[in-house]
């Protein structure tokens, strides 16, 4: 029981780190960045590269992965989204272009590393077990949970208390007004992508460490769950994404207990569907309405 709770919080933390970046881009730019799962995967592979090829320790890998994926996010925006923004294209176009980038990047990674699972070199991550009561818990996961929480608090700080955060929030609320009020829109957007992709990449590294495996398609299950998380928590709401992530984590682990294994995925999508039908704005989101 404790083990399951532990796992639920762990996987919820990963979902949260991933989803929060996704929600950030959606709230600021109103687009679903379908290349987000790519940075998840890239983060993990960057860490793999840094550790296996460059021989650096795991903490360096984490930092480098964060920076690398953050920069990738900025480049992604320049290539796939900025041109569409310039001509006022609707969100669907951005979805498709990010999809195209995903196809390209995933294939490139596969060319270099193949499509199979790859494990980290032995001893990469200190592995230790905790014994609480009659439960045996993987120690690495608690570190990840703590790190995830720290990162989300950090994000909250940046968004609430820094001028950059204020710019981002202004942009999310009303792009035109923000521009008129002198917000450096390009900088804010670049920062948004940096943070979003950096966090997504970190989520990938951490999951890669926890499961000791990376593969080119590891982002895909996350992507579908990110939709659920965002919708449940409220589209574009960052605290909502975090809340939704933990709800999903708990729900999935619980459904593993009560439902046959094959139906576990159905939980995420069933939940998504029900929420969309009953309350599309989610728990913490704004009501969406068409103004006449």
């Amino acid at each position: 029981m404790l083990e399951q709770l532990y796992n639920a919080i762990f996987i919820g933390s990963i979902y949260a780190l991933f989803a929060v970046g996704f929600a950030l881009v959606f709230s600021v730019l109103d687009i679903l960045n379908l290349a987000h799962p790519t940075v998840f995967m890239l983060g993990a592979f960057t860490a793999l590269f840094v550790i296996a090829t460059l021989g650096m320790p795991w903490y360096a890998a984490i930092v480098i992965a964060f920076l690398a994926t953050g920069i990738f996010g900025i480049v992604l925006d320049r290539i796939a989204f900025a041109p569409l923004r310039r001509r006022g294209a609707p969100p669907l176009s951005a979805m498709i272009s990010s999809l195209a980038v995903t196809l390209i990047v995933v294939r490139l990674v596969e060319l270099r590393y193949g499509g199979d699972f790859i494990t980290f070199p032995r001893g990469t991550v200190p592995s230790f077990l905790l014994h609480i009561g009659d439960a045996t818990l993987e120690g690495v996961r608690i570190a990840i949970i703590v790190l995830a929480i720290v990162l989300m608090l950090g994000l909250t700080y940046v968004v609430r208390a820094t001028s950059l955060g204020r710019d981002i929030r202004a942009l999310a609320e009303n792009p035109r007004a923000a521009r008129i009020l002198g917000v450096d829109v390009e900088r804010a957007i670049a920062a948004t992508f940096f943070i979003s992709s950096g966090l997504g990449g970190l989520a990938g590294v951490l999951l890669g460490f926890a499961y000791d495996s990376v593969d080119s398609k590891m982002g895909l299950p996350l992507e579908l769950r990110a939709f659920t998380v965002m919708v449940v928590g409220g589209m574009g709401s960052l605290p909502g994404a975090v809340l939704g992530a933990y709800i999903l984590g708990l729900g999935e682990v619980a459904s593993l207990v009560y439902l046959p294994a094959e139906l576990r995925d159905a939980f995420a999508f069933g939940l998504l569907f029900i929420v969309l039908v009953l309350r599309p704005s989610g728990l913490l989101g704004q009501r969406t309405a068409d103004r006449v």
Binding site: M95, I96, S97, L111, F227, T288
Partner: protein, 290 residues
Amino acid sequence: MEVVRDFLSAYSTLIALVGVNALLALSIWLTLYAGQLTLGNAAFMAIGAYVSALLGRHLGTPFPIALVIGAIAAGATAAPLGLTVFRLRGVYLAIATLAFGEVVRVILLATPITGKGQGLNGIPPTTEIWHIYLSLAVVAYVLWRVQGSTVGRAWAAIREDETAAASQGIRVHRYKLGAFVSGALLAAWAGGLSAHLVFSIEPNDFAFSKAVQILVFGVVGGIPNPLGPIFGAALLTALPELLRPLKDYRDILQGLILLLVIIYLPRGLVTIAQLRRTRRLQEIGAADVA
């Protein structure tokens, strides 16, 4: 004639596949034309495939009837689904239909009669190329004629501005549902044809990537008329074959094509023929897909 016959037999699978994908592309084109971005057509395809295959296998239902029942099954699922989600717009609709698609896939994975993860094998290969292309010709013709009718104009109006469309007396929900269910019927028909072409099907054939693939066929080809998605499907199905020498790089090339098209030719490749009109549309901000 010899040359043609040899060509046809060597590439018969590819030609058949192009036809099926063209039908799928048309199924999503229809809903996009009415302004709805739905990603559920892979699931409807799955329903059509499984229902027709199972009917043939267990009840010995004749091929055409099995196809029809498969399509009706999909339509029957699409109607209540459409009613539940018709309030959703844009990305919400896309996500909801995607979620539906995943639910269907998972159910297929878990239900014994569908063979679960192993899928269905030994489906009689009753589909002939002329079945596919006859279907395609009929569907394309019907869609082309409907496009210029009051129904087609109503869909276009809904796509442009639902609220204003309602003001013109258009029963928006009814028309949206019509497009949605018709798209489902088409996708299911294609699914049935496809199942009897490839002999075996499994749930993962109809997953997220399939839904995306269908979307890409529709978008890359183009929106202005039914030829667009047909062309897009043909190009993108044949491209891997043509690019075979490039082996590993062909996926990358496909991704690049998609990226370039969506950024520079948002209404799809066929719009090259209508470049002036596209440019006019771009200027007034009405150029994009949805």
